[in-house]
Amino acid sequence: MSKKTWFNNLKCRECGRLYEKQAIHICEFDFGPLEAAYDYDAIRNVLTREVIESRPKTMWRYRELLPIDGEPTVGTQVGFTPLVKVDRLAKALGIRELWIKNDSVNYPTLSFKDRVVSVALSRARELGFEVVACASTGNLANSVAANAASAGLKSYVLIPSDLEQGKVLGSLVYGTNVIGIRGPYDQVNRLCSEIAGKYGWGFVNVNLRPYYAEGSKTMGFEIAEQYGWKLPRHTVVPMASGSLLTKIHKAYKEFIDLGIVGKSPFSIHGAQAAGCSPISTAFKRGTDMVKPVQNPDTIAKSLAIGTPADGYYAIHSMKETGGGAEDCTDGEVVEGIKLLAEYAGIFAETAGGVTVACARKLIETGRIPKDDSAVLCITGHGLKTQEAVAGKVGEPRVIGASLREFEALVADETAVKS
């Protein structure tokens, strides 16, 4: 790869004003989000399927479409997680063909957040930051902590104080500074916006957000490549801020525009938990005015964002692509986790349960036709949210190390089943 960059400016998504590629994330005029602007004509000349296929199997094989100047220096091994065809789950959900994009095994911290952090911290280094930070519902904190540790950057992660134990430990172990905030994620987020303005830190999802968010596109690029250099007809994506959904949409559009995949119809659907569903609720009401949820209440804590930054854009992505939005109860989340585990052998965190449960509804209601094909985005590992399923998946039966006891147990089981 040459050292050239194909990324020229930041650009306001609302008014189109251009900004220098610094640690800034909003337009000074209308507070619209800043996004990376690329030289697509130049990229078209260098990025082909063959070039991509010749590169290592990581998210950086799409380097030209990611907003850093030089070579990546953090998270160079991230991405290219499996896209798995899951026939038994397809049958259980009543659809012809089903695939799982399995970011629960992303490297190094078992969630899709490694993608965004890899870009954000590579860029943070280019911009000269020595301290990096984030506002997080858990997965992002884990990834910032781990990737900062390996890169030798000092880090602070701010989280709601009531997160799952696995997510808290999964940050602490890396020696980061974990700050628990009393209150929901939205208050953590607001505090981080204020801190980012005051301290000279690189907040991956505040002042580095334009770089960070682009990392999510790689999930979409990988789906398109692994699906056979074409777009799946339906993609179901969990929504917290809505950013991942909008970036998968952007990834698909970029691949079409660059001629890397052919133009074909695709729909992107969003999934939320009923205890915090500002985006799906607005979508179902037919409006793009997202009403904030003041007190999110769901076991899907990683999705519990009451004031979703990209809710407005997520609604437009779903509308533009003919997708739908669904939400599900906590009971359905657990059911979704169990379905995915029992029928596909994949243990996802609560957000994965939300995705499966909502996909089931989208199929049942015909929003995703039964004779079609769909990809579900699974974004984090089940070991991180064990509390959600503890006591709901049975208990081991304990016996002595005796053949007699084992035979009695099996005999009992056979008797029950017959």
Partner: protein
Amino acid sequence: MPSIRIPTPLRKLTNNEEVVTVSGVTVGAVLDELNKTYPGLGERILDEQGSIRRFVNVFLNDEDVRFLQEKETPVKETDEISIVPAIAGG
């Protein structure tokens, strides 16, 4: 007078002041007064129809004014209003 916390991107308009004070008995009145004192600030926060922009969150003390009475929310002398960009996190 109520105090108003200005976000970094708007401090060019307040001579780099992080916190300013202006009078007003509602959130809307405070924002109007803010615009008179610091010309240009109002149009950054309010759209052409005079509504709080889509990507701006205004907090009265620790409460988002969208959970209160939006621009009609009463403001006391000792209150603090924070203007915080909405695009963050997630």
